[in-house]
């Protein structure tokens, strides 16, 4: 048996520091014809390393195999269902990859003149119009590189609008089910955060909102549907209450996948909302980036948009930089344009009916999971869900099995774990978002795996508590890793 294979074609590999052999290398350069200079003669003594032991020395094929083997341990949306709630891990259509590599798009430099860039400017402008139409708002910036930056940009525009009115407000209201980025963006924008306790039905409690909404509140930040996957049916009343007292309504568009062609933020009274293109519009999440978090706003907030704004006059597109009330720039030029191209391709290839059907499939899929698992897992909050469903570990706790154990046991059964311990208001939350991409067969496989875990939790809880056993690495000691982090490799000391 070779050391790199203990299970046929499933390869293992150690640290690269243990590989290769002294003196081996992956290159051989020709003589340059220039005399060598002794570093000692030109550099200060202290900056010359005398010894370097233990540094890996490998040939090119060894390096390639090391990283290729490791890459085969990766799990991705291309491998199997990735039901990470609130992250919307959709399939990334390959047509998006193809068009984003078109020569005319990738060869363009952002400093070329508007005249040279008409195609790209039109594409970004069109995408902006479509996004505004989808969420029912008037104007857009495509600059923010992610949802959280979109939140920050949106709140900056709210603050600028209040400044313009001559008002200073000090805080933002947030439901206790909100994404962690919401309070972070508020704080970064200089606002204090006031938590709005959800009602027993998991929705905004209008009486509580009425009590807390005062003249110091700049904005109410909501997510709709909220992180429990429940539609905030009181959103119009909530927005009216906030507007009547001079505040703005921000909507976190993380869960927009549940609403395409069905309901629009603008119609709900929302003033400003960000959209995660890497969620709803099927662009890659790609190892944390690049993402895109365009922000749509009402006419009232339009003067404060980041610059440049693309303006169309009789079919000619230009970038407008001179906008005195603008909050400034959040990213160079128009954001991650390659991501915008993919989102535009998704919208065009789906069409209005297709987008609407995607939402229907996403909601049906989540409710199917909810219905088939309801006898096996405790459901947090009762209303029917939208595009994601939240269970808890309440039924498994009596066997000593927790949400973390269930998540690890899913790895053994070939699925990425769902989002766990979030939202915070559901104790031991297991938040599952299947998206529209999954077939009935895949959903059934996932559900069967979840049922198997629930049954094994009763008969053999230890096997669940020790999971995963089938992965390259077993259960990691997250506590030890967090308490005593080793942030450098052995060589670095």
């Amino acid at each position: 048996m070779k050391p790199h294979s203990e299970r046929g074609m499933s390869f293992t590999t150690g640290e690269i520091f243990g590989e290769g052999s002294a003196g081996r290398s992956g290159y051989s350069l020709p003589e340059s014809g220039i005399d060598r200079i002794d570093p000692q003669s030109v550099l200060p003594q202290g900056s010359i390393r005398k010894t370097m032991s233990g540094f890996p020395e490998l040939s090119e094929p060894e390096v390639i195999r090391h990283y290729t083997r490791m890459s085969q341990w990766n799990f991705s949306v291309d491998t199997n269902m990735y039901p990470l709630g609130s992250c919307t891990m959709k399939h990334n259509p390959r047509i998006g990859e193809a068009v984003s590599r078109l020569k005319g798009l990738v060869g363009l430099h952002p400093l070329q003149t508007d005249e040279d860039a008409q195609g790209t400017l039109k594409l970004i402008h069109d995408l902006g119009r479509w996004l505004c139409e989808i969420v029912g708002l008037d104007s857009v910036t495509t600059q923010p590189a992610a949802g959280a930056q979109g939140e920050f940009a949106g709140l900056m525009m709210v603050r600028a609008a209040l400044d313009k009115r001559g008002e200073t407000r000090s805080k933002v209201l947030l439901p206790d089910s909100s994404h962690g980025t919401n309070p972070a963006s508020s704080a970064l924008c200089g606002y204090g955060v006031v938590t709005l306790k959800s009602g027993a039905d998991g929705k905004i409690d209008l009486a509580e909102l009425d009590r807390l909404m005062d003249s110091q509140v700049a904005a109410l930040m909501v997510t709709n549907p909220n992180t429990l996957g429940i539609f905030e049916s009181g959103i119009i009343e909530a927005a009216k209450l906030v507007h009547d007292r001079g505040g703005f309504v921000y909507c976190d568009g993380a869960n927009l996948s549940a609403l395409l062609g069905k309901a629009r933020f603008g119609d709900m009274g929302v003033d400003v909302a960000h959209i995660n293109l890497h969620k709803t519009f099927a662009t890659p999440h790609g190892g944390g980036g690049p993402g895109a978090g365009p922000v749509c706003v009402t006419k009232e907030l339009e003067p404060f948009l980041p610059t440049p704004v693309i303006v169309e006059d009789n079919g000619v597109y230009r970038r407008e930089w001179d906008r005195p009330d603008s909050v400034g720039g959040f990213h160079s030029f128009h954001g991650n344009v390659g991501v915008l191209v993919r989102a535009a391709a998704y919208i065009l290839s789906m069409g209005p009916e297709g987008l609407s059907e995607a939402t229907e499939a996403a909601v049906v899929n989540a409710n199917y999971i909810r219905a088939r698992l309801r006898d096996h897992y405790h459901i947090a909050y009762t209303p029917r869900c939208m595009h994601e469903c939240v269970f808890t570990d309440k039924l498994q706790n009596k066997y000593g099995v927790t949400t973390l154990d269930i998540a690890k046991a899913l790895i053994d059964r070939g699925f990425h774990p769902p989002t766990i311990y979030f939202p915070l208001i559901a104790r031991g939350a297991i938040m599952i978002e299947p998206t529209e991409s999954e077939s009935l067969e895949t959903l059934d496989d996932f559900i069967d795996a979840m049922i198997d875990i629930a049954q094994t939790a009763k008969t053999d809880p230890e096997s669940i508590k020790n999971a995963p056993g089938n992965s390259v690495r077993g259960r990691l000691d997250e506590t030890a890793a967090a308490r005593n982090p080793r942030l450098r490799c052995g060589l670095c000391g």
């Binding site: 915070l424 997250e478 967090a482």
Partner: protein
């Protein structure tokens, strides 16, 4: 779960030991159990003035990050700096080695609004 009788408790799951105008504050056995293994505790500077129910720090566990609230108004006179290297004391010994801050109380009568051990045990049972 233990809730010593000589302490008073807040709804946010902090305990207070009051001695000669100084409140020693930590989180309860219930709170540490809910958070799970605590990996980092952020505490205020000595000398900081804390309002009633103000956030005085953060407890970070493997699964979540949680604000810490000071149930009484006053000035921080001492912090448990051993938590910097050994945050696990909050899990293993929440009422003793896991204490977090000592506050010189501005108004000791604020303690009257806190719960007894018995009431706190009841409160947890109801909120579960």
């Amino acid at each position: 779960m233990e809730f010593p009788d000589n302490l008073v408790y807040s709804k946010e799951h902090e305990w207070v030991l009051a001695e000669e105008g100084v409140a020693t504050i930590g989180i309860t056995d219930f709170a540490q159990g809910e958070l799970g293994d605590i990996v980092f505790v952020e505490l205020p500077e000595v000398g900081a003035d804390l309002g009633r129910n103000a956030t005085f720090g953060v407890a970070e566990s493997v699964k979540t990050v949680s604000d810490l609230y000071c149930p009484v108004e006053g000035e921080v006179v001492e912090i448990n700096s051993s938590l910097e290297d050994s945050p696990e004391q909050v899990n293993s010994n929440p009422y003793d080695k896991g204490w977090m801050i000592k506050v010189k109380m501005a108004d000791p009568s604020q303690l009257d609004d806190m719960m007894s051990a018995e009431d706190y045990a009841k409160y947890i049972k109801e909120s579960k």
